[in-house]
Symmetry: C2
Subunit: 204 residues, 2 copies
């Protein structure tokens, strides 16, 4: 029998790099990958469903849960609070399930400290010009909001060396295959395996 | 621009675990993976072509090249000598090409010492019983030869923790996908990348 503990995959990217699409596609391709629905004070975007895309809460409720130590990581992003339920995450990992979390760079640093065996993946757009174009195409944010996201994007990109893997998202299909490969390769890492191949270990 | 040095992938397995088939399939799927044709004193098996499967040489010639320091690794396996040309290997890596080597555990240990960034993959059969069955099916070796390969297989399997990745070859298709995933994931490793995303690094 070969057993594995659940592995935590943390994916970060500047806003506009295509992280959300990528994570969704990889969840389709790798159905045994659990994920944790983040808690946020951000307003739902059109089409987002409470409990599916995020748990939407108000700031008072978020701060109560934060004070109670309920979050494995939390962060302020573009003025909104985001957090990951420690109980939900540890439940999945404890059951031996791999978990994919889509988390900003602040949250990723907290998760790395808390789970040293976590696998950190950074997603980049091919260039800042491309990032800006994607932000403008995506929705009708005011100019100062786009500029704020770009400024923060530059700060986040500077942290790519803190991650184990880098995916440059030129083409969604190729990027999905790379993220898929990372998940499958990490499942073969000897450091994550507990092998008791009984019949192989019989002395003779 | 993102640049990478060439990565050396070393694949080891006990005789009968399916390593040769696996490596051949992965070379089909990943055509930009170079490989090095080993030098051996072993007699060609039916269908094997000199210069393609191996460079077949006599023991005198092998020992001359060994004395001249021509081998990046060498080993005695089942009474035959095997070696990898250092010049051929370093040529490929220097040109930024990834190289896949199909090497026994003795050679793998030498390569790990010489190339600390090499990626080591161990292939196992699902069980010793399965390994024995595959050895018996494969060709008409005398009983003492099968027993010798099994004994050596047990010794090699004990070394699996020295490798970065473990693939249990239950099903060739699945095992090929895992080896393919390992190659593609390692290509995304931040420690192997030299990034100069010029337009991302413009201060602003």
């Amino acid at each position: 029998m070969i057993r594995r503990r659940g592995t935590l995959f943390v994916v970060s990217a500047p806003s506009g790099a295509g992280k959300t699409t990528l994570c969704r596609e990889v969840r389709h391709r790798v159905p045994d990958l659990a994920y944790s629905v983040s808690v946020t004070t951000r307003a739902p975007r059109p089409g987002e469903v409470d409990g599916v895309d995020f748990h939407f809460v108000d700031e008072t409720r978020f701060r109560e849960r934060l004070a109670a130590g309920a979050f494995a990581e939390w962060a302020v992003v573009h003025g909104n609070l985001y957090g990951t339920s420690a109980a939900a995450l540890e439940g999945e990992l404890g059951r031996g399930h791999d978990v994919l979390l889509d988390i900003d760079t602040q949250g990723a640093a907290q998760l790395r400290a808390r789970y040293p065996e976590a696998v950190l993946v950074f997603i980049m757009a091919p260039s800042l010009a491309e990032l800006e174009q994607r932000l403008r195409e995506r929705r009708s944010d005011p100019e100062h909001e786009i500029q704020r996201r770009l400024r923060r994007g530059r700060e986040e990109i500077a942290l790519w060396r803190e991650y184990h893997y880098l995916i440059v998202n030129r083409d969604v299909k190729e990027a999905v295959e790379q993220l898929d490969a990372i998940v499958h390769a990490e499942r073969c890492r000897t450091t994550r395996l507990t092998v008791s191949l009984d019949d192989l270990e019989v002395p003779n």
